[in-house]
């Protein structure tokens, strides 16, 4: 939890929930876990005030309370605040997207209420909802798609507490023995607790979660927004965007479909491997997608025609050498398509789909997809962590290239590729004069992209007899970059708030629904422009946060 994270959260909470709430959050972020009386002392607020403020914060689960300590202590859940506020807009947009027009209003109502109140018991919500039937079906769909998840009482306690309680429980259940050392016992308990925690953490994954055995929604359960699932969806969007830029729109559409087919089985972004087959992918593939149109094949006819004219073919020849090993197989496959190629319905849909999937597998630097078997027309999986690593590295390089120039980026990529390496070798690989790269290396060092290691050649550690090796530590560099993104976000946000505060009169009038003068209308329009620009920027920065911090 860095200073910038805290700054952003306090700002967000102040804007949405007022300055008292933000003071409480600020105090808890600064001091860590506090009991009510200590919270009152550090925040200089009265206990009564704090209690009043804590209610909504606990309801939203921005603050968790420990049930194991006495007196009760309070802890902030920073990730939860961040996703609830910063990603609220995206969540609403996504829900709007997946529902048909008639259904979406009820679904949006549910999501907005959940974002506002944190959690809701379904029966309570339905009793107040204008159209209970529509709301029930919306909730059912949201639950089935895991966009909502059920909530248990324990989940109002901090996660760390729950894990610790679990460990203690397991520890107590393992009897002390003279033959077993205490550290062994603790280890065993931890292992058991880990397993138990995994069961607890994934217990909402079951498809029947929140449903009665009859298949109807269990109205007695409490539900909340499932931020983990929304992070998965946001990640999918990032991946599809990349596929679009690296390969093309049609292949990206196929990829989107692959991810959507996998989606019901993807519960959180740190979970790995799901294997699906071409058959599964093909089943619901959009039939309007013209797969073959995006693929090129050698046009035999044209080639034969042109081979008549010597000058042209001799011009072309030297450039078009084939690699020997693949030659036979490729010409084979070409002729395959050639055989059927006379009519527009050339290769079967499955074959063409597999060609697109093969394209997604083809880039070693961005492994969108991985072929793991040949059952069902071909089995594919996505190694999300490897893929996100490549994407993170690519994003990082891009930012470095933009901020420090192309040369710095080239050097960084050389160092990442080669590991620890000295200046001379870097210059050699970069084909740049050694004296020219030093400044860039120093700049990269300053911004946290590079580390310098000194390897003395003698016991005296004389600088002249020392190797200086540069290296890149991705995890540290990316974390730093995430911090910078958060910082920029904070500034944008501060500016939004300030822009509003500059025009108090207009807002008061809008609140009173009084008529605005032409100048005031203009003023509001200007404010909306500025706001929009900043908010759009914040949303885009959030994508970087997703890449650099959340989808590791």
């Amino acid at each position: 939890m860095s200073q910038f994270d805290a700054e952003l959260l306090v700002l967000l909470v102040r804007d949405f929930y007022g300055s008292l709430a933000s003071t409480v959050i600020d105090t808890l972020l600064k001091e860590g876990r506090l009991s009510l009386s200590l919270l009152a002392r550090y925040s200089s607020l009265s206990t009564a005030t704090i209690q009043r403020v804590l209610v909504p914060l606990l309801q939203l689960r921005f603050v968790r309370h420990s049930v194991f300590d006495s007196p009760t202590t309070y802890v902030v859940s920073p990730e939860h605040i961040y996703s609830s506020i910063v990603r609220a807009g995206q969540i609403i947009a996504y829900v709007d997207d997946i529902f048909s027009e008639e259904e979406s209003s009820a679904a949006l109502q549910v999501i907005k209420n959940l974002l506002l109140y944190g959690h809701i018991r379904i029966s309570d919500y339905l009793s107040a909802a204008p159209n209970p039937a529509a709301s029930t079906s919306a909730i059912a769909t949201l639950l089935r798609r895991k966009l909502l998840t059920t909530l248990t009482t324990e989940e109002f306690a901090p996660e760390s507490d729950r894990v610790r309680a679990l460990i203690n429980e397991k520890l107590a259940s393992i009897p002390r023995k003279a033959t077993v050392s205490e550290s062994k016992r603790a280890q065993a308990a931890e292992l058991e607790a880990q397993e138990a925690w995994h069961r607890i953490a994934t217990r909402h994954d079951s498809l029947s979660d929140g449903f009665l055995s009859s298949g109807e929604v269990d109205t007695s359960v409490v539900v909340t927004v499932n931020h983990e699932k929304f992070a998965v969806l946001a990640r999918s969007r990032v991946l599809v965007d990349f596929a679009k830029r690296r390969i093309g729109a049609v292949t990206a559409a196929v990829y989107k479909h692959v991810l959507e087919t996998m989606e019901p089985r993807l519960f959180r972004s740190d979970e790995s491997r799901i294997t699906i087959s071409s058959l599964e992918i093909l089943k619901n593939l959009d039939e309007d997608l013209d797969l073959g149109h995006a693929l090129a094949i050698t046009s035999r006819r044209r080639k034969r025609d042109s081979s008549g004219s010597d000058s042209e073919s001799s011009q072309q020849r030297p450039h078009k050498r084939r690699r020997k090993e693949n030659d036979s197989s490729s010409s084979e496959s070409e002729s395959d398509y050639e055989m059927n190629g006379n009519n527009s319905k050339s290769a079967s849909q499955m074959e063409v789909l597999n060609m697109h999937l093969a394209l997604l597998c083809s880039s070693p630097s961005l492994p969108f997809l991985k072929r793991v078997g040949s059952k069902g027309g071909g089995e594919y999986t996505i190694d999300f962590s490897a893929l996100m690593n490549s994407i993170r590295a690519l994003e990082y390089d891009k930012l470095i290239a933009k901020r420090q120039g192309a040369v710095a980026c080239r050097l960084l990529r050389i160092i990442r590729d080669k590991g620890r390496i000295d200046e001379k070798q870097i210059a050699q690989a970069a084909l740049l004069p050694a004296k020219e790269i030093r400044a860039h290396l120093t700049a990269l060092h300053e911004c946290g992209g590079l580390d310098l290691q000194e390897v003395p050649r003698g016991a005296d550690r004389a600088p002249s007899r020392t190797y200086y090796l540069w290296h890149h530590r991705p995890a540290a560099a990316h974390a730093l970059m995430a911090q910078q993104v958060i910082r920029a976000m904070t500034r944008c946000y501060a500016r939004v708030i300030d822009e509003r505060a500059r025009r108090p009169g207009v807002f008061a009038k809008i609140a009173r629904e009084a008529a605005l003068s032409a100048a005031e209308v203009e003023e509001v329009r200007k404010l909306r422009d500025v706001e929009e620009k900043l908010v759009v920027q914040i949303t885009r920065l959030d994508r970087l946060v997703l890449v650099f911090r959340d989808c590791l």
Binding site: R245, R321, K402, A488
Partner: protein, 368 residues
């Protein structure tokens, strides 16, 4: 005169020190080559001719080889012959390990040396023995034991006669290094094809990079002799007019004609872009830089390369940062907002010397 050094390098450089030439007889200082030969007796003349013709230039003969060549097995009889050669500078004596060896010197060469002063000849012999590496003036001074000014004078006069030349070394840019006039400096000295006058020729490199990239790019995307696998039978949707501008047309993954190191090498060689002789390894270095710049990527375990869509031949890193292929999102959200690259960001806080509320960079950005 071909590089001499390599022929006896194997035995260690110190062992191959040239023997200081015996001082030439005063009378022959101005004599011509023919007089050299005339000064020799028949046997010596024929031995010299054999030494020159029976092996490649600069061959180093052992004593045994010489006896065979001359048909004289008795060393006592052979030595005077060789001594005669040496007096005229036609044969050089070298030491290899513990053995003495001999090397024939061309007549013109011998004449050249005979015309030099003793000091000059000595300096010359060291420069000659340094081959294509060249030799540092300080080393000459140390080895010859001559005074600095004498060495300088010798170098000057030898340079004036175009016997030797001053070269620049990439490794030691500040040293004054000499080598024989007609030799080409070795790669160690010149730094290879990327160096011109011991400076990295960045212009040359970047133009080659861009040419190689253009070539790879031209081979990476389907062209005129390719067609689409299926011709769309359905009418394209109206609203997708923007998308059709960048309509996807890709080679299938099985496409096997992406450029390889050797095909790129061949292209560069045949294109006549440069007269510099580039080895496949040099081409590989260029390719690597393009990969590092995010313009091309290796596929098939580095067997072949293809261009990354959206990359441009302009120098510098690309990574498709601004490429809006198919209307994709531009992704540099952080650098676009002034706070990303802001230099005073550390000082920026509410009520601080700079703040988001009063920031002029943000002001400017917001009214853009």
């Amino acid at each position: 005169m071909p590089p001499v050094k390599s022929s006896y390098k194997a035995s260690g450089s110190s062992a191959a020190e040239p023997y200081t030439l015996p001082s030439p007889p005063a009378s022959s200082a101005s004599s011509s080559a023919s007089t050299h030969m005339e000064g020799l007796n028949k046997a010596a003349q024929s031995l010299y001719t054999k030494m020159i013709t029976s092996n490649e230039d600069g061959h180093v003969y052992t004593q045994a080889e010489l006896s065979e060549l001359a048909g004289i097995s008795d060393a006592m009889k052979l030595m005077p012959l060789i001594q005669e050669h040496m007096n005229l500078g036609l044969v050089k004596m070298l030491r290899q390990g513990d053995d003495l060896c001999f090397q024939a010197v061309k007549k013109e060469e011998a004449e050249k040396i005979q015309a030099m002063s003793k000091d000059e000849a000595m300096v010359y012999s060291y420069i000659e023995s340094s081959g294509t590496e060249g030799i540092w003036t300080k080393t000459i001074k140390a080895k010859t034991n001559l005074h600095q000014s004498v060495v300088q004078r010798c170098l000057k006069s030898l340079e004036g006669k175009r016997y030797i030349k001053n070269i620049k070394s990439v490794k030691y840019p500040t040293r004054k290094i000499y080598m024989l006039y007609n030799l080409q400096p070795s790669i160690d000295v010149t730094g290879g094809p990327w160096f011109t006058d011991s400076e990295l020729d960045t212009e040359f490199i970047s133009s080659l990079l861009s040419i190689v990239f253009r070539f790879v790019a031209s081979e990476s995307f389907p062209g005129d002799d390719h067609r689409r696998l299926s011709v769309s039978s359905k009418p394209r949707k109206r609203n997708s007019s923007k998308a059709t501008q960048h309509e996807q047309l890709s080679f299938p993954a099985s496409y096997s004609k992406y450029p390889t190191v050797s095909s790129i090498h061949e292209f560069v060689r045949n294109s006549g872009i440069t007269t510099v002789d580039l080895a496949p390894a040099d081409i590989k270095s260029l390719i690597d830089v393009l990969v590092y710049d995010g313009k091309i990527e290796p596929i098939d375990e580095g067997m072949a390369y293809r261009a990354i869509p959206g990359a441009t031949p302009e120098c510098g890193a690309d990574l498709g940062a601004d490429a809006e292929i198919g209307g994709g999102v531009v992704w540099d959200a952080l650098t676009e907002v002034p706070c990303g690259p802001c230099l005073v960001s550390d000082l920026c806080r509410a009520g601080g010397p700079v703040s988001a509320e009063e920031c002029i960079y943000l002001d400017e950005w917001l009214i853009q």
